[in-house]
């Protein structure tokens, strides 16, 4: 398979002005990836699928990653690195037996700028997996045919796979809270509303 | 002929039915529990227990409350608190060792990570409770079982563990002896040196 840099160069030749950066992977697996700007993502995905040399016809794995904002120290200067949500696609070619080509997209932040283009029109395989990323991480996929919660129930509010998600206590989910369970749940809820979870929650 | 496939299939069922009626071991494979019991394989595991070299939980427990099992337990069903002696210094024995077997999944990782061969997997499998809250948290008194029990349920493994522990003990004693001898020699040399200096 051609190197990730060669793929990037060919993408840039086809889509001048597209944002494509190589993300190197430090582990021995050496599965490097391409970070793609959301403006051209759908066109690039279609190109990756239809390109004769690559023909990445299978989108194997779609997943989200949460990167909360964190403090980094560079040259003894502290700064806050803004948080974001990332979606990772592992692409393979069944006809050419190639892979994986890993592409990733990032949202602007973790609160209001969380829309990314859906790649379901290119690979049906993304349909359920993007729903899952929407459900568990809170990334909105523009152009997804059926973007609903998939694992959590529709009335559920939070996104459990985010790193700052605070799980409720077990007794909050007793099927029918009554007696002392109800009292404990109430007390617990009061405590939680009095002291809200740390910043950055959805 | 239409239906011949169905008839062929029915012949197979008839053969099986007759086979199990006759007690053909290839067809009659179940055991009438609890009157008869299937043999338990040597590797079988259910829940963990603590090995004691003495008689009970307060005597001869191998556990030193290092909490290695607690930190590696996938289900987080272990709770260990180290005991303190009269002076308030940490004593190498557990004050509390609780195991919630309603949460335990019997994976055996605690036995793998234990550096002191003190936690091992039991083979009891007929355990039941009347409700889902009581009787499932086992204290160290209930968990402590003697080394001879361990030998009884897992003879090969227990023998191997005993041999290894004896070897470790011997090496430690030798090392201590050597260290003592060295210290004595050094002291003697020092004494001799100070004598000659005087």
């Amino acid at each position: 398979m051609e190197t990730i840099e060669a793929i990037r160069d060919r993408i840039l030749a086809t889509f001048p002005g597209a944002e494509v950066t190589v993300v190197l992977n430090g582990s021995p697996s050496a599965q490097h990836s391409l970070r793609i700007g959301k403006a051209h993502a759908l066109a690039i995905a279609r190109w990756l699928r239809n390109d004769e040399a690559l023909s990445l016809d299978q989108c194997s794995n779609v997943t989200g990653v949460d990167w909360p904002e964190r403090e980094v120290t560079e040259n003894k200067v502290k700064r806050i690195e803004p948080g974001c949500l990332e979606v990772v696609y592992h692409l393979y070619s069944i006809s050419k037996r190639l892979g994986p080509v890993v592409i990733r997209m990032r949202t602007g932040n973790r609160t209001d700028d969380v829309t990314l283009p859906s790649l379901t029109p290119v690979w049906r395989a993304c349909e359920f997996q993007e729903r899952e990323v929407f459900d568990l991480f809170g990334v909105h996929f523009g152009g997804h045919p059926d973007l609903r919660r998939i694992l959590m129930w529709d009335e559920f509010k939070d996104h459990p796979m985010r790193r700052d998600y605070v799980a409720p206590d077990d007794f909050d989910w007793e099927p029918t809270p009554h007696d002392d369970v109800l009292a404990r749940a109430k007390e617990n809820r009061e405590k939680r509303t009095a002291a809200p979870a740390k910043e950055g929650g959805a | 002929m239409l239906g011949s496939g169905v008839i062929q299939g029915l012949l197979v069922t008839a053969r099986n039915a007759l086979g199990s009626l006759r007690g053909d071991p290839g067809r009659h494979v179940t055991v009438e529990y609890p009157e008869k019991r299937a043999e338990i394989p040597a590797a079988f595991r259910s829940f963990p227990f603590l090995v004691t070299d003495g008689t009970g939980a307060d005597d001869g427990l191998r556990c030193v409350a290092c909490k290695m099992c607690e930190s590696e337990c996938p289900a987080q069903c272990l709770y260990v608190v180290m005991d303190r002696d009269e002076k308030g210094k940490p004593a190498k024995r557990p004050k509390v060792f609780d195991l919630d077997i309603s949460v335990c999944m019997g994976c055996g990782i605690c036995t793998e990570v234990c550096p002191f061969d003190s936690i091992k997997m039991d083979k009891v499998y007929e355990i039941a409770g009347r409700d889902r809250f009581h009787g499932f948290v086992l204290k160290k008194e209930q968990l402590a079982k003697t080394n001879s029990y361990y030998h009884q349920i897992r003879p090969e493994e227990a023998a191997e563990v005993d041999a290894r522990l004896a070897e470790e003990k011997r090496l430690a004693e030798e090392k201590a002896k050597a260290a003592a001898a060295k210290a004595a020699a050094a002291a003697a040399a020092k004494a001799a040196g100070s004598q000659s200096a005087a």
Binding site: T63, V65, A125, L136 | G5
Partner: protein
């Protein structure tokens, strides 16, 4: 006197010619666990089908991200509880990629033996479940379970547990196989074809099975590839895609076996591909038992507890009985995985469920679902 239809119409406002919306599941004997399908029916024909997931969701990924690398291993048994051994292997494979650990050759052989045993017991089960869904209550399923028990006995003898083996480790296997165990596997491998013959004799020519499965739930090859369908379901459409041949992970390149493919992509082909795969698995098992070398099964230097891989990521995948089971791990250098993702073959194989059920009768939709082979522990995670 009112007919039943009149009463029904009176109570529900349903008029003849209306579409009937039916919630099938989550507690329904034909949905293989707590799975629900919201079906819209025109008479007996399916015009819309929406799968509903999540009844068994316990957020396995979140649990694993709060635990050490080793502590995630027993949880993988509980994903697809019919295929614990291959799930273990897939996870170990991903961590080995992440850390660059080498696996001793004997361990690779042992993994192949366990994976192929898993495959035959999974496929035997599936064939039993499928004919159960077709209405053959009990008998063929019990025959299949009888054979499965023999495989589970072997798993218990080597790992201590019938289904929750927790057997693979990073860089090998937890225990070595004793010669007696290998002899027991050889005995099973010698006897298993007689079960397959019997099962085929029982069902392959059965006219009811043929008419209920042939031409039902047809999946096209390009459609299946685009939807990420893998495993026997993909191969039944004629695409010879098997990771054992494509990735050649482990020692699979040393064995001679073929990849059975179907031609029509219907329920019958999905069923037959699995029976044929069992025979191929037995071939692999015979070769692996013959060639298994001596040596260690676990490199003592390979770290298990307190593993802290270098920052980076890895996606490792193997061919499970249900399709491509993969694990995607991101390490930030800490003791817990920063991101732990399972690629669930059962969930992704369900992508096309609605497409292939449209226009079929409801009874056939049940059979189609059965032929896809899902385990809800893995679908919902």
């Amino acid at each position: 006197m009112n007919t039943v239809a009149d009463l029904f119409s009176e109570n529900t406002g349903f008029r003849e010619g209306d579409l009937l919306e039916l919630s099938m599941g989550p507690h329904h004997p034909s949905t293989h666990g707590v799975f629900r399908m919201n079906v819209t029916l025109d008479g007996e024909r399916v015009v819309r089908l929406k799968p509903v997931f999540g009844y068994l969701h316990r957020n396995h990924e979140k649990i694993a991200e709060g635990n050490s690398y080793l502590a995630a291993m027993p949880y993988t048994d509980r994903l697809d509880y019919l295929a614990g051994m291959t799930n273990n292997w897939a996870y170990a494979h991903a961590v080995e990629k992440l850390c660059g650990v080498e696996v001793p050759v004997r361990a690779e052989y042992l993994r192949v033996i366990l994976a192929e045993l898993t495959r035959i017991q999974n496929h035997a089960c599936l064939c039993g479940f499928l004919v159960q869904d077709l209405g053959a209550s009990g008998t063929p399923l019990m025959y299949a379970f009888r054979e499965r028990e023999k495989v589970l006995d072997l798993f218990e003898a080597i790992s201590g547990s019938r289904m929750m083996g927790n057997f693979q480790r990073f860089g090998g296997c937890r225990e070595d196989a004793k010669p007696e165990w290998l002899a027991a596997v050889a005995k099973l491998v010698a006897e298993f074809p007689s079960f397959l013959d019997e099962f085929e004799e029982l069902l392959a020519g059965n006219e009811i099975i043929l008419s209920r499965t042939q031409g039902i739930g047809v999946m096209k090859a390009d459609q299946a590839v685009n939807a990420g369908v893998t495993g026997p379901v993909l191969r039944s459409t004629g695409v010879a895609h098997d990771l054992r041949k494509v990735d050649r992970y482990g020692v699979y390149s040393r064995f001679e076996f073929s990849v059975p493919v179907g031609a029509h992509g219907d329920t019958y082909d999905r069923y037959m591909v699995r029976l044929l795969e069992c025979r191929e698995s037995l071939k692999i098992l015979a070769q692996a038992l013959k060639d298994i070398p001596d040596g260690p099964v676990l490199d003592p230097k390979a770290k298990q507890k307190g593993l802290r891989p270098k920052a980076g990521e890895a996606y490792g995948r193997i061919e499970g009985p249900k399709g491509e089971i993969g694990f995607y791990l991101i390490s930030d250098g800490g003791p817990n995985p920063y991101r732990f993702r399972i690629r669930p073959p059962s969930l992704i194989n369900l992508t096309l469920l609605e497409d292939i059920c449209l226009g079929q009768t409801l009874a056939d939709a049940v059979a189609v679902l059965g032929s896809i082979d899902i385990v809800l522990g893995e679908v919902d995670r």
